[in-house]
Subunit: 353 residues, 2 copies
C-alpha cells in the first residue's frame, strides 16, 4: 500500500478475503488501512464473521445500504483519500457505483497485491495442498480399479466426483474424461461415449479439500496401443520431465514453459501444443504464477503450480500429462504422485462388462 501511496485498499475477490482472514461469505468486501481491517458484509454472514474472524478484523454491517454506499461511508469516516482496488475482480458496473458514492475521493486500480502474496505458500498451506493432491491420486486409483468397458465418460467422471466426496473433499472442477478422438479437446465435457469403443482415455481431475485445490491429468490407453500413441506419449512425458527438471529458484517461469515447448518442437509436435504449460494452484485451481512463454513471474520457493504439456491432434486424439508441483529450496517436489510411465498407462482390454 505504501508503494502505491494508498490510504486504503479494497479487497473484493472472495479468495483474497479468505486468504487474509478466513472469511468465506459472498457479497462482502474487505477494507484495509494502515491501522484497521474492516469486513463490510451483511446480516446473512454476521454470525459467520463474528465466529471466524481474527480479533483485529472489525465487522461493518451494511444493513439496507449497498456495498458501495457502505464502503464510501467508511472511507469518509476514516478520511481516506486514495483508495486502491482489485481491478481484475471488480466489475465495471460496481466500479462506477463505488466511484459515484466516493465522490471526490480517488479510486485507483492497485493490481494484484494479494494474489502476489498468495503465490508463495506457507508450510500450513503446503500441508493442505499435499493432502489435496493425495486425495486426487487416491481417488483416481479407486476410480480406475472399478473400470468396466460398458462405462461411459460420464460414469467415470461420476465415480471421481463421488470418490472425492466420500474422501471428504469435492471436485475442484468438473472432471474431464475424454475417450478416443475426443481427447484432443483439452477441455472436453464428459459425455455418454463408451470406453470400450476407443483406445485413448484422458482424465483430468482435481480435489478441493479444506479450500485448497490440486490438479492432475493422466492419459491411459485401452488395449493394445497404436505405435503413434507410444511415440507421442513418450514425447509428452519427456517434455514434462524436462520442464520439471528445469524448475529451480530464480528461474523465469517462461523458461520452464520453454523447456517443454522446445522439447516438443524438436520432435515436430510444437504446433499441437496450443496452451500454456501450467498455472499456479492454491485457493483457486487457476492462480498465479503463470507458467507460459509470456509470463513475467520468477520461480520462488513455496510456489505450487501445474506442469501439463499436451499434444492434441484433431481427429486422432490428445495426450496430456499433468502434475501439481511444489518449488522447494533445492528444486521441486511432485505433489500428485501417480504413475505415469508408459507401461502403467495400459488398461487391459478384457475389462469386465
Amino acid at each position: 500500500m505504501a508503494c502505491h501511496r494508498l490510504d486504503g485498499f479494497l479487497v473484493v475477490a472472495r479468495e483474497n478475503i479468505f486468504y487474509l482472514n478466513g472469511f468465506s461469505g459472498d457479497d462482502s468486501w474487505l477494507l484495509i488501512t494502515a491501522e484497521r481491517e474492516i469486513l463490510i458484509t451483511d446480516f446473512r454472514f454476521q454470525e459467520q464473521a463474528d465466529a471466524n474472524l481474527p480479533p483485529e478484523c472489525e465487522v461493518s454491517l451494511r444493513s439496507r445500504k449497498s456495498l458501495s454506499a457502505k464502503t464510501a461511508e467508511l472511507c469518509r469516516k476514516l478520511s481516506l483519500k486514495k483508495i486502491g482496488f482489485e481491478e481484475r475482480y471488480l466489475s465495471y458496473h460496481k466500479f462506477h457505483l463505488l466511484k459515484k458514492a466516493l465522490k471526490s475521493r480517488e479510486l485507483r486500480p492497485a493490481g494484484d497485491l494479494v494474489e502476489v502474496l498468495r503465490m508463495i505458500k506457507d508450510p500450513e498451506e503446503i500441508d493442505l495442498l499435499r493432502r489435496s493432491a493425495r486425495m486426487t491420486t487416491r481417488v483416481l486409483s479407486m476410480a480406475m480399479k472399478g473400470l468396466t468397458s460398458a462405462m461411459t465418460e460420464s460414469d467415470l467422471a461420476g465415480r471421481v466426483n463421488i470418490g472425492l466426496l466420500r474422501d471428504g473433499g469435492r471436485s475442484a472442477f468438473p472432471p474431464i474424461v475424454a475417450v478416443g478422438a475426443r481427447s484432443s479437446q483439452p477441455h472436453a465435457i464428459a459425455s455418454c461415449h463408451h470406453l470400450e469403443e476407443e483406445n485413448i482415455l484422458l482424465i483430468d481431475l482435481g480435489a478441493e479439500s479444506e479450500a485448497y485445490n490440486s490438479d492432475m491429468t493422466r492419459t491411459f490407453v485401452l488395449g493394445n496401443f497404436p505405435r503413434k500413441f507410444k511415440t507421442i506419449y513418450r514425447a509428452v512425458l519427456g517434455a514434462q520431465k524436462k520442464a520439471i527438471r528445469s524448475i529451480r529458484l530464480g528461474v523465469p517461469a517462461s523458461l520452464i514453459d520453454g523447456a517443454a515447448r522446445g522439447y516438443l518442437e524438436e520432435r515436430g509436435y510444437g504446433s499441437y501444443f496450443g496452451h500454456s504449460l501450467g498455472h499456479g494452484v492454491g485457493l483457486e485451481v487457476h492462480e498465479r504464477p503463470v507458467i507460459s512463454s509470456r509470463s513475467r513471474d520468477i520461480i520462488k520457493k513455496g510456489m505450487v503450480f501445474t506442469v501439463e504439456p499436451g499434444v492434441y491432434i484433431p481427429g486422432w486424439g490428445g495426450i496430456r500429462i499433468e502434475d501439481t508441483v511444489l518449488v522447494t529450496e533445492n528444486g521441486y517436489e511432485i505433489l500428485t504422485e501417480y504413475p505415469k510411465d508408459l507401461e502403467s498407462m495400459v488398461i487391459k482390454r478384457n475389462l469386465k462388462r
Copy 2:
C-alpha cells in the same frame, strides 16, 4: 441493440453465451451484430465450438492474441462504431484493455439485455427446471430416510451431494445444513455439529441438472419441538403461502416480497427477516427477477423464482421455508413439491445411532 443504437453487442457472461448458443467454454466472448454472431475463443474450445454451435454462429480463434485484441480486430473489420458490453460481468481491468484496443470506437455499458431474455423461461427450459426441482426433492427424501443421530451436518451435506451425483446431477451450491442455534445463520457452512445435540435442522439444497438449477429449504425439528418453534414455523409458513398466493401476472415483484414481510411484521418478526424474499432461478442459482422490496421487476408468465421467507433469532436458531415457483397464466406452480406442513417436519428422537 436498436434501442441502444449499437452496431455490436459483446456478451461476456458465460451463462449468457450458453443461453444464446449452447457453448459452455471459458475465456470466450460472443460478438453480435445485426447480421452476424461470432464466438471469440481459443484452441482449447475449438472442437467443442465446432460441434455444438448452431450453423449461423461463426467461430473466431484468437490464437496468441488476447481476447481484447481479437475482439478489437473483428470490430475494425466489421466497421462497428458503437459496441455495447455487459458491465456487470466485464471486469474494470478487461474493460480498459478492450477500450485501449478499440481505440476511437465507442464502448458503452448496455445493461442486462440477455439477463432480461433469460427471465422468461420457454417450455423446454421449464421442463428442465421441473426435472431439476424433482431431483432436489427426491434426493432430500432419500437423505432424510437414512438419518441417524450420530450424523453431523457435514455427513448430511455429503449425503445430499452424493445423492445428487447418483441421480445424474450435482449440487448447485454447497448444501447448507445447520442444526440448533447455527440455523440462524442464513448461509451457514455445514460443520461437524452432531444432529442429536439439537432441536432444529435447517437444510437448503439445490440440484443442477442439465445446466438448470433449483433451490429449496426445509426446516425440521428433532424430537419434541418447543412451543417457540411451532409459533415461528407457522408464521414463516403463513408468510410463504401468502406471498405465493399473491403471485399473478403484472404484479410488481416488490409486492410479493411485501406480502411475506407484512405478514411477519404483523406477528412481530419483521426485524428477524433480514434478506429479500427470493431470486430468479435458471442457468444460475441467483438470477433475475429480483424479489425484494426494492425490485422493479414485474411478474410475467414463465418466470421462475424462489419464495423463501425466514426468521433468524441469534442464539436461538432460524427457520426458513423456500420453494422454487413457476409463474403460470393463471397464477403459479410450485416446482419443489416437498412436504412443509408442521407435522411433516418432525423427526422422531429415537433415531438409530
